[in-house]
Every structure is written in structure tokens, then in C-alpha cells.
């Protein structure tokens, strides 16, 4: 097929056609993302989150501070010893917030 095309078409035309096909594919994907029609599913999922009062994503289920990062104690990753190394691999992905330790994180909830 390629040999037939390269015999009948100029190389430049073939190369530009291949790139144009890829670009058209990208345009189709952008349209697919716009009209994928899964917003109703997402709305159903959001309603379930509201009904149950869920607070976190279930991406990392291995430790409690990675399963519910928003609910965990600030010191939980270092529960065995201050500044001890983390046990779980997802601890390297779920890093503490930048405000960690300087009381800014929950500043609004601390008594004045």
C-alpha cells in the first residue's frame, strides 16, 4: 500500500497528507471531548457524592492518610517517628500541602 502510494504520489504530498490526517484525528478528539455526553453520568456520580457526604477520591486505598488526604491528621504520614520515611509508595505521589506545618492550612478554623 505504502509502496503503491509512494509510486503514485509525491513524497511531500504523502507526508503532508499523513500529518493532515493526524491533525484531523486530533480535531475529532477535541470534538469527542466536547460532546462525549458523559456529563449526565458525572452529574449522577456527583449526586451520589452529595447523598453519602463523601469527602475524597478512592484513588489510593493503601493507607488512611492517602485514602482520605483531606481528613487525615497533618502528622499522619509521620506517625511512627517525626520525619520518618513514608511506608507506602503512594506517599510519594500524595505529598503534604505546601502550607504544611505553618498553621495556614486550617488558619480559618483555628480559634482567634
Amino acid at each position: 500500500m505504502m509502496k503503491f502510494l509512494s509510486n503514485t504520489m509525491r513524497r511531500s504530498h504523502l507526508a503532508l497528507a499523513v500529518i493532515a490526517t493526524g491533525a484531523a484525528g486530533l480535531a475529532l478528539m477535541t470534538m469527542h471531548a466536547q460532546f462525549s455526553g458523559r456529563s449526565s453520568q458525572l452529574a449522577g456520580h456527583a449526586a451520589l457524592v452529595a447523598e453519602l457526604g463523601l469527602t475524597d477520591l478512592a484513588l489510593f486505598t493503601e493507607a488512611r492518610y492517602t485514602r482520605h488526604p483531606s481528613q487525615a491528621d497533618l502528622f499522619t504520614p509521620f506517625q511512627d517517628h517525626p520525619l520518618s520515611f513514608d511506608h507506602f509508595p503512594s506517599g510519594s505521589l500524595v505529598l503534604p500541602q505546601r502550607q504544611f506545618g505553618n498553621k495556614d492550612l486550617f488558619a480559618e478554623s483555628l480559634p482567634q
Binding site: I19, A58, S109
Partner: protein
């Protein structure tokens, strides 16, 4: 009369210019064909790097968007009791205190906790649905489970789930429903059970809760309500919906956490590739430039030819790399990222993200890949093309 003539000439010139560029592309492709192995290897590496960068970028953007949409529905304010700096169960009597604060519409105790299954090493999240829950209400003896629990335990709707309580007794629950894959991102490890079952399983006194959730009438009053509640319960920790959203913003932000950890390797690989390209050309390429110059090519022609070489490789790799990344993330559930995200966890959600691909994402990725690579190709060519052909060929 002169105007049409001028426009005809301009049209002819532009057509000639376009024709020249097409001939240059023909020549470039011919030259590239002479080094097929090297160019195929280069294209594959470039494609792989854009595929990895694109996958991580699309995944993190989509998951951040999904987290923001979903967690916008999380409780407005949560109250946790702390004792000696650690989270502790909170008394139900606190609910009355909190309800009296003006602006609080509703205050409810939440029951949720973790259960480590010794049989398969998985961690489950056990939870009691709220009183007003309709679609997720469970009676004693019943349960609703996430798809991850059903998968690891090998049970289906209508089957039975057995859990070994800390008293050593087995609890038998009939599976009323299994949550679908579409909501796995938030409930894959969830086991919903009734309040009496939950208290019996964890041997929990009747008036203790994991934490309290508050519904606030006016969102703008949250800070004031937290301030008032903090005076009444100085030892408690208050987590607002904003804190929850900010936590996830931080985890999926490009400067820290997940994205940085995943991107790091591929960015380094791309830097090495660009530097290798920028550091110089092979002797064969130099000789080729020398010959072209000797037969009368202008410096600008040589640069244009090499520009097309870089542009064809990088645009081709970009277009197909992004297309592959899109398919990988949204049609194949980002399967290659799964081992990284899964870590040591037994349960990992089987979810598909809502597709999202925007002009800004494409432009960012293009800016960080096509431009540095094309520039890295042009600079050494310009250096070789401006030197004397005799010297270059020597």
C-alpha cells in the same frame, strides 16, 4: 491594468514559493530515507516521550476537573474531635451545641471507618449512609458495596459479604447493590451498612460518631460559623469544603505531588533528547550540507530543508503522540499509569475519566515539545550552513 497584472505576479510568486517548499520537503524526505533506521528510532523516541507527557497531562487535567466537580458536593463543614493531637470519636451531644449556631441548617453525625481485610490484605472504607439517603438506604443485614470490593471478594449483587469483626464474630451481609464503574473513583472500596450493623461490628457505644457534618444556609457565612464553633469546641478541627478542594488541587497540581512525580522522568528524557540533537550533527550530515552548498544551494535553502526535517518529525510525533495519549487515557483507562498509582494497594478503582481536551492543553504541550526540538535542530544546521563548504566537507 497594472493591478491584475501585479496580483497575477504575486500569485505566481507565492505558488512558486509553495512549489519550492514542496520540492524541499521532497528532498528532505529523500535524505531522511537514506538514514531510515536512525530516523525511525528518533521518531519512535520522540513519539514515546510525547505520549507519556501527553498521557500524564491529560490524566491529571481530567482527574482534577472530575475531583473539582464531584467534591463540590462534599459536606460544607466537618467537625473532628482531637484528643492529644489525634482524631477521636465525637459525642452526639455536640450536635445540639452546633445546631444552635445561627446559620447552621443541619448537623448530623457521620459514621465511617476503615477495615483491614486479613484474608486479602485490602483496606475497605465502611460507612453508614445518611438518614435522608434514598438510593443508598440499607436495612440491617444488607449492604451496598463498591466495584473494587466486589471484584476482590468475587461477589455479585444478591450474594453475601462476610466480614470478621474485632470480637472474632463473622458478620454476614446480603449485597443489595454493587456500585457501577462510573462512580468507582469515589466509592470503589466502600461498604455501606446500617447503623445498628456498624455499631455492632465495631463495638461502638450508641452516641459516638466518627465526625459531624454541618449544612450551612449561606456559604458566605462558613468562616463566621467556624469561628463561633471553634469558641464552643476549642479542641476540634474544622474542615471546610474549601479545604477539601484545596487538598486535591494541591495533589494534582503540576508543581507538586502526582503530576510532578510522573512528569519528572519524561521531562528529563526529553531534555536529553533535545540536548543530544543540539550538541551537533554527524559527519555525514555535515558533508551533505557541504555538497549542497558547493552545488549552489543558499544558506537559507539549507536551513529551510533542515527546518522541514525537524518540523515533519516533531509535528508528526506530536499529532500521533497526543492521539495515542488521548486513546490511552480515555479509552483504555490510563492502564500504563495504573501500576504507578496503585502502589501497594489491593483495591484500585476501575474508572474511566470524562474526556477533556482543550486548545490550551494542546498549545502547552506543543510549546514544550515542538519548539525546543525544532530550535535544537536548526541551531547546529545554521552553524554548519554558514561556514565555508570546503571546510565543512573536509
Amino acid at each position: 491594468m497594472t493591478e491584475p497584472n501585479n496580483s497575477y505576479q504575486a500569485g505566481l510568486l507565492s505558488r512558486l514559493g509553495a512549489a519550492k517548499q514542496l520540492y524541499l520537503i521532497d528532498f528532505t524526505l529523500g535524505a531522511m530515507k537514506r538514514r531510515t533506521g536512525r530516523n525511525v528510532m528518533l521518531f519512535s523516541v520522540y513519539l514515546a516521550i510525547i505520549f507519556i507527557l501527553g498521557s500524564v497531562m491529560l490524566f491529571s487535567h481530567a482527574i482534577r476537573r472530575e475531583a473539582a466537580i464531584l467534591l463540590e458536593n462534599s459536606p460544607e463543614l466537618l467537625v473532628q474531635k482531637l484528643r492529644m493531637g489525634r482524631h477521636e470519636l465525637i459525642e452526639g451531644t455536640r450536635l445540639e451545641v452546633l445546631r444552635k449556631i445561627r446559620g447552621v441548617r443541619q448537623a448530623q453525625g457521620r459514621l465511617w471507618g476503615y477495615f483491614y481485610d486479613q484474608a486479602n490484605g485490602a483496606n475497605y472504607t465502611l460507612m453508614v449512609p445518611r438518614e435522608q439517603s434514598k438510593t443508598t438506604a440499607v436495612k440491617p443485614g444488607e449492604t451496598i458495596i463498591g466495584e473494587g470490593v466486589a471484584r476482590t471478594k468475587g461477589i455479585k449483587q444478591g450474594g453475601y459479604l462476610f466480614l470478621l469483626s474485632e470480637t472474632g464474630k463473622l458478620m454476614k451481609l446480603k449485597v443489595k447493590q454493587v456500585f457501577s464503574n462510573q462512580s468507582a473513583l469515589t466509592n470503589t472500596d466502600l461498604i455501606l451498612l446500617s447503623e445498628p450493623d456498624y455499631r455492632r461490628f465495631f463495638v461502638l457505644p450508641p452516641d459516638l460518631y466518627t465526625d459531624l457534618s454541618l449544612t450551612i444556609r449561606n456559604k458566605r457565612e462558613i468562616d463566621k460559623i467556624v469561628e463561633k464553633a471553634a469558641k464552643l469546641m476549642p479542641q476540634a478541627r474544622f474542615i471546610t469544603r474549601r479545604d477539601i478542594l484545596r487538598t486535591y488541587e494541591s495533589i494534582f497540581s503540576w508543581r507538586e505531588g502526582l503530576l510532578l512525580a510522573l512528569l519528572g522522568g519524561s521531562l528529563i528524557a526529553f531534555t536529553i533528547l533535545s540536548f543530544d540533537k543540539a550538541s551537533g550533527m554527524s559527519a555525514e550530515e555535515r558533508r551533505e550540507i557541504g555538497v549542497l552548498k558547493a552545488v549552489g544551494w543558499e544558506t537559507s535553502d539549507v536551513i529551510a530543508m533542515k527546518f522541514w526535517e525537524g518540523a515533519l518529525v516533531s509535528i508528526g510525533a506530536f499529532v500521533f503522540g497526543v492521539a495515542l495519549a488521548y486513546a490511552h487515557v480515555f479509552f483504555f483507562s490510563a492502564g500504563l499509569l495504573e501500576p504507578v498509582l496503585k502502589g501497594w494497594a489491593v483495591i484500585y478503582p476501575s474508572f474511566t475519566l470524562t474526556p477533556s481536551l482543550g486548545g490550551i492543553q494542546l498549545a502547552t504541550l506543543a510549546f514544550f515539545t515542538i519548539i525546543p526540538y525544532t530550535a535544537a535542530t536548526i541551531i547546529p544546521i545554521w552553524r554548519a550552513a554558514t561556514t565555508d563548504p570546503d571546510e565543512v566537507m573536509r
